[in-house]
Amino acid sequence: MAALAAAAGGLLRLRAAGAEGQWRRLRGAGLLRVLVQPDSATGFAAQRRHVAHFTFQPDPEPQEYGQTQKMNLFQAVTSALDNSLAKDPTAVIFGEDVAFGGVFRCTVGLRDKYGKDRVFNTPLCEQGIVGFGIGIAVTGATAIAEIQFADYIFPAFDQIVNEAAKYRYRSGDLFNCGSLTIRAPWGCVGHGALYHSQSPEAFFAHCPGIKVVVPRSPFQAKGLLLSCIEDKNPCIFFEPKVLYRAAVEQVPVESYNIPLSQAEVIQEGSDVTLVAWGTQVHVIREVASMAQEKLGVSCEVIDLRTILPWDVDTVCKSVIKTGRLLISHEAPLTGGFASEISSTVQEECFLNLEAPISRVCGYDTPFPHIFEPFYIPDKWKCYDALRKMINY
């Protein structure tokens, strides 16, 4: 009987964990190696599926926010949501499947703790989720909406762009939906293909009135998410899904804020400025090491953190110092956010530039499945672009 119950429970947990099982393979990303075993029958080597294209580097334990706890990125998100619901009695969390804990476990335990009127499922309808969230925010209550994958945010595009972003402006500040935050898993994950890998920040960067934020780590995620929730403007918070389990570090248990619209120089350097956000920050960090080791080149690494409104001053200040800029993102090259950065920097820092600004991005294709290793702007492509810039 006990075995039965255990097995049933196991099945339920597995179902609940759903997507999780696949992420187990990514644990300790960077430590896996491709195992290539020659298969004499076919001539094609049998490949162990997936090796991560990045190595997550935790930041040193933060000292100034009190007691910390080891958390991965989804746990850091849960912690932020927990803090929010604890201190703001109007705050509610809603979306598809958030009640049982969410397909990425970001809302585990919250419904039990705060009640079914505060953490609840909605019907399967993104335009409804965001529209509903706007309405809650219009009354002044705090609305935290979850879109299950950033790839599915598009039905809500009208509500976000035509409504949320313009609410305050069009009403002459009579009404606003500033207490709305939309969260969505974002970016490549190894096998997500067209509809579980997208990075749609560029679509929203073109929309005055909203803020768009992408964290690189659990500590950043919690602080930035709390800032988004407390910010008096509607915010979109993209969570790099491949980091949900792969990124682990010490994160403060209590509430803390990381300011929006402030980029972070995570490594100082003198020869080249590298800019990225989300998962890609870890790629360019590694590129910086490679550049130092192989070329003796000193890189300044910047995590942009907020895409809109973005921190022009920090990036320009860096480029004025180094004279070279490389921007990298998974999203396709044309019209990607690197174009905006590149355009602004050449306007502001033209005479400081020693080489054309380099963009290392995804190709102008939908995000492919089996070809992902070739599609992504990995460290070799970034390194190669950097080398060309140095030799320009």
Binding site: L11, Q127, G133, V138, D158, Q159, R170, S171, N233, V312
Partner: protein, 450 residues
């Protein structure tokens, strides 16, 4: 061991998936393991989950209903359809005295004055667009009853989400003519700071959320606001107006479904006025109007929108129950759009003048209420004449004043995008200021405040 696990898995599957054939699955697993030479004897039967009379009722999580063994498609009942509730006949006579809301004289006069003042304002502002004084206008001709009948049944603090043809709700809530005009002229008195096209009114004080042009976007928003009101125990209903055309939008479907599943105190008020610009209802939907509420699990009613008392009664009862029971209500108010869609439309291109005249002359909410008032001795031709003159004078005065006022400072182009102005935007604001210093003569600066 493997067999015990197989049985356990099957039983677990049975519980999770609700199937009564768990053992059948176990049997299958056993046969497979037998094939691999792992056959064991079957352990004792695990306990069957208790389902009451499995053969009699469907057990599907999605719907339970009853079984039927005859193949039959449900016929959508469009011919007879949902009946139209009314209180007055077309001559303003109460049909069933028990349905008369017995509103006090003052209140009925307020209904009448709101409708007629709106009508007068519509005529003058429509003309002003024709003369190039304002850029755009939308009239409310024929639908005044839907506005005031519903507004009168609400509390003043009930939150209103509208589409764009509900100015009578604001009129009933005593929104001053000066502010209607200010918004249409985009002058310095406009609370909206001149940002939107005419008729995109909003008023925080009167709980009327600012209108936006995209259709039906307000519907799921209204539902969210209702949910928040429920959580706050605010004893407040949210009313959401939209036309029968907007009801075709995905946002409408989203809103209805969310309101029902999340149990929100909201009144969905559909003004079915026969046209979405040029598109008649026969091309807008094929079901029974917006009586699709029951499909979502929403209590619904169809009313004569040109009968202010029918609108009032339905809204009043819907409000009472929505707040008491935390569930949505759908009111489909049948009416007719007598005017053009807007000043950019000439409806003679798609409908006959006779059709329009019928509604204007034979079934108009204002005349029906006037007949009611007159039959009660609460109104007469003298008062009608005096009121027409007075309301026209009020409107003309507000109109002339609105015209004379300057527009807001161009610096207001840049504020309220965010609560705080981002650095990049401030740079752009400064760039415009510098540009105007050099090229100001090419811009209509004389009409704007500094």
């Amino acid at each position: 061991m493997a067999v015990a696990v197989a049985v356990a898995v099957a039983a677990a599957a049975a519980r999770v998936w609700g199937s009564s054939r768990g053992l059948g699955q176990a049997g299958l697993l056993l046969r497979r393991s037998a094939a691999r030479g792992l056959a064991r004897s079957l352990p004792q039967r695990q306990e069957q989950q208790h389902f009451p009379s499995l053969d009699d009722k469907p057990q599907f999580p999605g719907a339970s209903a009853e079984f039927i063994d005859k193949l039959e498609f449900i016929q959508p009942n469009v011919i007879s359809g949902i009946p139209v509730y009314r209180v007055m006949d077309r001559q303003g006579q109460i049909i069933n005295p028990s349905e008369d809301p017995h509103l006090p004289q003052e209140k009925v006069l307020k209904l009448y004055r709101s409708m007629t003042l709106l009508n007068t304002m519509d005529r003058i502002l429509y003309e002003s667009q024709r003369q190039g004084r304002i850029s755009f206008y939308m009239t409310n001709y024929g639908e005044e009853g839907t506005h005031v009948g519903s507004a009168a049944a609400l509390d003043n603090t009930d939150l209103v989400f509208g589409q764009y043809r509900e100015a009578g709700v604001l009129m009933y809530r005593d929104y001053p003519l000066e502010l209607f005009m200010a918004q249409c002229y985009g002058n310095v008195s406009d609370l909206g700071k001149g940002r939107q096209m005419p008729v995109h009114y909003g008023c925080r004080e009167r709980h009327f959320v600012t209108i936006s042009s995209p259709l039906a976007t307000q519907i799921p928003q209204a539902v969210g606001a209702a949910y928040a009101a429920k959580r706050a125990n605010a004893n407040r209903v949210v009313i959401c107006y939209f036309g029968e055309g907007a009801a075709s939008e995905g946002d409408a479907h989203a809103g209805f479904n969310f309101a029902a599943t999340l149990e929100c105190p909201i009144i969905f008020f559909c003004r079915n006025n026969g046209y979405a610009i040029s598109t008649p209802t026969s091309e807008q939907y094929r079901g029974d109007g917006i009586g699709r509420g029951p499909g979502y699990g929403i209590l619904s009613i169809r009313v004569d929108g040109n009968d202010v008392f029918a609108v009032y009664n339905a809204t009043k009862e819907a409000r009472r129950r929505a707040v008491a029971e935390n569930q949505p209500f759908l009111i489909e108010a049948m009416t007719y759009r007598i005017g053009h869609h807007s000043t950019s439309d000439d409806s003679s291109a798609y409908r006959s003048v006779d059709e329009v005249n019928y509604w204007d002359k034979q079934d108009h909410p204002i005349s029906r209420l006037r007949h009611y008032l007159q039959s009660r001795g609460w109104w007469d031709d003298e008062q009608e004449k005096a009121w027409r003159k007075q309301s026209r004078k009020k409107v003309m005065e507000a109109f002339e004043q609105a015209e004379r006022k300057p527009k807001p400072s161009p610096s207001l182009l840049f504020s309220d995008v965010y609560q705080e102005m981002p650095a990049q935007l401030r740079k752009q604001q400064e760039a415009l200021a510098r540009h105007l210093q050099t090229y100001g003569e090419h811009y209509p600066l004389d009409h704007f405040e500094k």
